[in-house]
């Protein structure tokens, strides 16, 4: 079979030929999406933001305390035990809330684990954070984030730097990225504060 015959035959199997809704960039909803995207980075003049999306899977271990996550699929069983075993969280590629668009206090409010912390050490593929405040999900004093592929990996994680403060949330044992977790900024802090107010 000739190349073009095969291509033509394959194109008839293209699901979009049977009619799917393709939005124009000029549509109001499209423009709103783009405005949101561009406004989220408007505060940064740098080419690369302080934290950025990376795609490699990473593993986070909560150390010096235990956090029971996701008890029964809704609210977490918030228990902490200084003598308990560390648990593992996945960071990055399997983020169940992987969306950069709809960061709202309502969404953040639903996460079973969230804390504010300061990076005290970055060593190779590991970043250690001292927890400044637990919003929900535990009371461990320190959180250790381990990124097997390296903290400087590509799409999906967070660039942790020593001395900087971060807001981190996790869902179903997975640290959320892409807006939900990141370096502490007034904007992100306001969302967390509103989410966990009262």
């Amino acid at each position: 079979m000739e190349n073009e015959d095969l291509r033509s035959r394959l194109q008839k199997l293209d699901p979009t030929v049977s009619g799917v809704e393709i939005k124009s960039v000029d549509e109001e909803s499209s423009q709103k999406m783009l405005e949101t995207i561009m406004s989220q980075s408007a505060g940064s003049e740098s080419i690369r933001p302080a934290w950025y999306l990376v795609g490699a899977a990473a593993v986070a271990m909560v150390a010096f305390g235990a956090v029971t996550l996701f008890g029964g699929g809704s609210t977490p069983d918030v228990t902490a035990n200084p003598d308990g075993e560390a648990i593992e969280l996945t960071v990055g590629s399997e983020d169940t809330l992987a969306s950069c668009m709809a960061l709202t206090p309502e969404l953040v409010r639903d996460v079973p684990l969230a804390f504010a912390g300061t990076v005290t050490a970055v060593d190779g593929d590991r970043a250690t954070l001292t927890v400044d405040e637990w919003f929900v999900g535990g009371d461990a004093a320190t959180v250790s984030l381990l990124a097997p592929s390296g903290l400087e990996a590509l799409i999906g994680g967070i660039d942790f730097e020593e001395g900087k403060s971060y807001l981190v949330s996790a869902y179903d044992g997975v640290v959320n990225y892409c807006g939900f977790s990141g370096e502490e900024t007034p904007e992100l802090r306001a969302i967390y504060d509103e989410a966990f107010a009262g």
Binding site: L13, T16, V20, V25, E45, T96, C100
Partner: protein, 186 residues
């Protein structure tokens, strides 16, 4: 301020080029109700990594990002369903084919089923997105030579499979053939 304007203008130019093709790319590979989420995440990454986007290959670059975001999304869906399974103890299926059941070309569909995932992806990028090997290489992070070779093999595998199906055994209807009964030769 001028730099920001330039940056914004460049992003808008890229968006004008990729906005609709990206939607088609996603609609071909995922349920329609999740397309907006993956599209917006892809464009968010494009906005943040604007300076990394090659000027002569914006669309393949964006396909490459969309491919990764889509992979994340699929894994998330699997995780969610596994959780639901655990909670309900009722196994559920996650379909990776959002358009299953469409009428089409049964012989070709059988032949496609006999490809592995990587081969099928190359074939789709070639036929549906109409990309050249060097562009596909950018999407899947490989080299043009390697893609060229793999694509040629995948096409040959498809052609062989179609040929086999066009030579039905007596009394055997080719469009009722079950994929698992014949495996690609190459």
């Amino acid at each position: 301020m001028k730099a920001r304007t330039t940056r914004t203008e460049r992003f808008e130019d890229i968006v004008n080029e990729v906005f609709e093709p990206l939607q088609r790319y996603l609609h071909r590979r995922m349920p329609a109700d999740s397309v907006d989420d993956v599209l917006s995440e892809t464009l968010m990454i494009a906005w943040r990594r604007l300076d990394e986007i090659p000027s002569n290959a914006s669309l393949p670059w964006c396909y490459g990002v969309a491919r990764k975001v889509l992979g994340n999304h699929r894994r998330s869906q699997h995780r969610r369903l596994r959780l639901v399974d655990r909670l309900t103890a009722e196994p559920q299926q996650f379909s990776t084919d959002p358009h299953g059941g469409d009428e089409g070309d049964p012989l070709l569909e059988v032949a496609l089923e006999q490809l592995n995932d990587q081969e099928r992806e190359l074939i789709h990028l070639w036929a549906w997105e109409q990309l050249e090997p060097r562009e596909i290489a950018l999407v899947v992070e490989s080299t043009p030579n390697a893609i060229s070779l793999r694509l040629t093999r995948a096409k040959q595998k498809l052609a062989n499979s179609l040929e086999r199906q066009n030579r039905p055994a007596s009394g055997h209807s080719p469009d009722k053939q079950v994929p698992e009964s014949s495996v690609g030769e190459m």
